[in-house]
Amino acid sequence: MFTAIGNTAIVKTTSYKVVLPFYLYAAVAFLVATILLSVSAGDFTKHYFHPHTLAITHIMALGWGTMIILGASHQLVPVLIEGSLYSNTLAYISFISAAVGIPLLAYGFYVFNMGWPAQCGGLLVISAIVAYLLNLSISMAKSKHENVHAFFIFTAALWLLTTAAVGLLLVCNFTDSLLPENSLDYLPLHAHLGIVGWFLLLVTGIGSRLIPMFLISKYNNTTQLWWIYGLINGGLLSFIFLFLYTNSRVLLTFPLMAVTVAILLFGHFCYMAYRQRIRKKVDEQMKVSLLSVSMMLLPVIFLVITGVLLLVSASESVSLVTAYGFIIFFGWITAIILGMTFKTLPFIVWNKVYHHSNGKAKTPNPKDLFSNVIFKWMSAAYISGFVFFTAGILLQDTVVLQSAAVLLSVTSLLYNWNVIKLLTYKPVSV
């Protein structure tokens, strides 16, 4: 027989009012970043520690990547931690602090004013993360369930806080000499805390929940996910130790190997989920998301080449390092967001619009709420823009860079078009 537990068992979904501002902000930030990329394309032939490059990187990392992940994770908290979100107010505080802080920080970098704009911006971003972390911690404490995805998301948020704190320290170090070395010397530490600790851990944690869910796959392997969790965190912790306390470049291959194995295991996880899917047809959004998983290996390849060149010639290839950063923020992070936005956002809008209509009248499916044709054009513009811009950095060719930046701007315009189409959707009965 069945054990009925009543309607109280349904975990309340997070209100769309909390989530949608994050999505809208991220879409605008992506547009701003690609416009700045078009204006400053030539700067990508110079050293990566360039004000415009730093500004674009932070708009991409915080305004685009982090804001949409924060929005999505507020929405997905019930699915990921198996409990309801604790506080909408904390979510609003998190949004407002980040929404004000990110432009201040980006402006500070763009004009290279490391005084009050960058410092206040950094403080506001940290406040936003603290509010998010607090909300997440209490939500998790109240949930009766524990699962591997909750550990991924919580640890990733802790790494995000660490990244932001180190970042603020580096900003303050420009004006107050707080650290023994120049801020530039600590840049690899700050960057990898964010890339590996926040983005990689979170994307693998959320992706391992959502990809099988959207593919309707039978595959699940918690042990494999714990290995991924251990390898990413172990790799990052050993990197921090080696970076701060040794000068050995050879030893740095160990954290690189740990993270590479984690990425390969995650790739295997997604492949098995794909193989064991029940729904045979895979939609365009899932194809782009799965492409982003394979794109995770690109930065590893670039890092290996950079490392080998560094060992052989003892000098850093600036264009390779710039390309490495570009293929992370405009590569797999952007690709998975482009795909997953149009898997998660239509759901949120559908729930808002058709919540009470299911079963009463025929309603459109969530995938019918945006234009798949625009999505396909956006994907084509994105892939070509991404490939050409990477080539432009490596070839140090301004014309290629500018042309590719235009393609990426087209990508962000088409992305915004579809997002606005979703956000302004009016109900129709089919």
Partner: protein, 108 residues
């Protein structure tokens, strides 16, 4: 999975109406998904006892699907009151999808 019932005829009518309730992401109705476990009809109290599940306890569409199921049964049997009970014991597994459901997913 076969739906347990104490009234085969009314159950057939109820399931036909519940086929209008669709999981929006999958695009498949909740009957062929295998979410309905039991449908009992209490003629003296004029009540329908519907025991169902969700694909996951934390399904973001859970509230929408259960409300729709309840309202659909109320619409089909206006003289009855529907008591909907949710269970995750046993939890939903892919094997509960009907043959028609599998055919639909293979086509989609």
């Amino acid at each position: 999975m076969n739906v347990i019932t104490n009234n085969g005829i009314k159950c057939t009518v109820a399931l036909a109406s519940l086929q209008n309730v669709v999981d929006p992401e999958i695009g498949l109705n909740i009957v062929d998904l295998g979410l309905i476990y039991q449908l009992d009809f209490d003629e003296s109290e004029k009540k329908i006892y519907c025991t169902m599940t969700l694909t996951t306890q934390f399904c973001p569409m859970g509230e929408s699907i259960t409300n729709a199921a309840k309202e659909t049964l109320n619409g089909s049997f206006p003289d009855y009151e529907t008591v909907l009970e949710l269970t995750f014991d046993p939890p939903w597994i892919h094997e509960m999808i009907s043959e028609e459901g599998h055919e639909f997913l293979n086509e989609k």
